[in-house]
């Protein structure tokens, strides 16, 4: 027998019992050749190109699932940040483009298409301003389009003007999608140090340095890590790190295999494997549960940041050994709404926004899927984004904010989206004002990279 009995059963246990799946195979498509002076021609070009490359994406990914017995949770598409090829467009034209992206996504049978984006860490072009203005309307008039805007980077600093525009856009998006618990905000990410090859929607986009087309894969597998930690029992932290690494190694190898096979079937190049641990609302598929299994009474207890740092670091070490194509975010995601353990910790009063912020300093990717009261002011949201961006640019890492000022809701209420977006309890936000600071506008200069204490 070329494999041990236990090895085969371990794989079966991972895929069948412990929720091991590939979180996403995301096809990145460049739209840089789709511009035309006539918006109708532009739309036609976009639609045709996405269908030409992505038409078989879902079908081929399903074939790979059956072949290897590993399910792929999401098949998605990312495109060039829309503001770049279509910089000459007006707000209304951008909305038209969003609609055509939505239509293309529907036609090829995917749930989300990402890249309705702009990169404005240093400053904004007219087109980028128009795109940001259009975001609330685009997200409320489409179902599948996801948007992201990068407002800061270690090299450029933090663009506070862009943050202020984005916090207004978030508020308006929440209002325009109030019928569905402000779901538009769940499709809108504000980044610092955004990466160009991130396969994880909503923050995915196909960066300008990427090839014509590429296939990136995002692994998952908190459930598998959780079981491995539980099985390890009472061991010290070095041994625990070993346990995590061994598990992640296997997950990453499987992820790369699946990604390469989907790329091969599509006849396109394979890009990267993103080794982020991404939770789902399924019971047991939770980062919070891992932290608890590591010994914390609940997420939010003192020690949470340290435990998360160790988990994240172990994941990276193992992933880098397993694959030479590691990229994207590659960390641990801690979205509140998509993780049952996190939801419970918030409801029990054990986890606050401030503790979450501290946790994002040691893991990707930021304050993710956080619901806050609907009357939270734009200035306060701008302050939250600026804090998160500061953590990102000072530590040279990606951070993001996906915050939902749930229209008409107050602390303790729930927003419920179903599916992978899950549900989130509305969290308390400090009401002392940040308006004077964020209202100054301008740009926080790029940070220095020495004397880093």
């Amino acid at each position: 027998m070329p494999y041990e009995f236990e090895e085969i059963l371990e794989t079966i246990r991972m895929t069948e019992i412990e929720h091991f799946d590939i979180r996403t195979v995301t096809m990145g498509i460049s739209l840089r050749d789709c511009h035309d002076r006539n918006i109708e021609v532009t739309k036609q070009k976009i639609y045709e190109k996405i269908l030409r490359y992505g038409g078989q994406h879902v079908k081929l990914a399903k074939e790979v699932e059956a072949q290897y017995g590993i399910s792929i949770a999401n098949k998605r598409i990312s495109v060039t940040p829309i503001s770049i090829p279509f910089d000459a467009c007006s707000m209304d034209e951008f909305i038209e483009i969003a609609k055509i992206l939505d239509l293309a996504a529907e036609e090829i049978g995917i749930d989300y298409i990402a890249g309705y984006s702009a990169l404005v860490q240093k400053g904004m072009t007219n087109g980028e301003r128009e795109l940001i203005k259009s975001i609330p309307y685009a997200l409320s008039q489409t179902k599948r389009v996801c948007s992201s805007v990068n407002i800061g980077s270690t090299k450029a600093g933090i663009n506070m003007d862009a943050i202020n525009l984005m916090s207004e856009a978030i508020k308006l998006t929440a209002e325009l999608t109030r019928e569905k618990d402000s779901i538009g905000c769940a499709k809108l990410v504000v980044f610092a140090n955004a990466v160009e090859d991130n396969p994880f929607v909503a923050g995915a986009f196909h960066g300008v340095t990427e090839p014509e087309i590429v296939l990136n894969v995002g692994i998952s597998g908190p459930g598998v890590v959780l079981e491995a930690i539980k099985e390890a029992g009472q061991v010290d932290l070095q041994q625990l790190s070993e346990v995590i690494k061994k598990t992640i190694f296997k997950i990453t190898r499987a992820g790369e295999l699946i990604g390469r096979k989907v790329a091969e079937k599509n006849g396109i190049p394979f890009g990267i494997v993103d080794i982020s641990l991404a939770p789902t609302p399924a019971e047991g598929d939770s980062i919070a549960d891992i932290l608890k299994a590591m010994g914390l009474e609940d997420v939010g207890a003192p020690g949470t940041t340290a435990a998360l740092a160790m988990l994240n670091d172990s994941v990276k070490k193992a992933g880098l050994m397993a694959s030479s194509s590691v990229g994207g975010m590659s960390g641990a995601f801690i979205p509140v709404s998509e993780d049952m353990g996190m939801i419970r910790a918030v409801q029990a009063g054990n986890l606050s926004l401030e503790k979450l912020e501290a946790m994002t300093a040691v893991c990707s990717v930021g304050l993710d899927m956080i619901a806050v009261p609907g009357d939270t002011s734009a200035a306060t949201i701008a302050g939250i984004i600026a804090d998160e961006a500061a953590i990102g640019i000072i530590n040279d890492k990606t951070t993001a904010v996906r915050i939902i000022p749930a229209f008409g809701k107050k602390v303790g209420d729930m927003v419920d989206y179903g599916g992978l977006l899950g549900k989130a309890p509305v969290m308390e936000v400090r009401t002392i004002s940040s308006a004077g600071f964020v209202g100054r506008g301008g740009r926080i200069p790029a940070p220095m990279r020495s004397l880093t204490n």
């Binding site: 041990e4 059956a66 790369e256």
Partner: protein, 141 residues
Amino acid sequence: MKFTEDEIRKITFEAINELGDKATPESVKELVRGRVEGLGGDYKFEKGDASSGRVILTSFGLNHPGIVAGVTKALGDAECDIQDLSQKLLGDFFTMIMVIDISSSHKDLKEIQEEMNKVAELMKIKIYLQHEDVFRFMHRI
């Protein structure tokens, strides 16, 4: 001679170019069939690339007479070659793992999986079929 999917795709594109405007699905198929068979290959478009190579079959459930017979009979009917077999009993619980080569089968992996699902239902056991690569990638450096 065996062709990979890429090679067949290349031959197909050549055929399409050669036929130009006159190309129809039938005429392309005919031309490609001629080319492939001329090179001594098997013309079997309906088989995906999954049919090549080895597959690991894992089955488990409560032990009762006839499980091995049922599984092997279905594999035999599908012309699969059983290359290795290992089986364990833990109390009443039965586990069997097989390495099978399905490249000689007239069915592809998906069809064999469907056959096995029927057997699994009949025997009240679980059967999984996965391409060998997933185990090689996960457990071998």
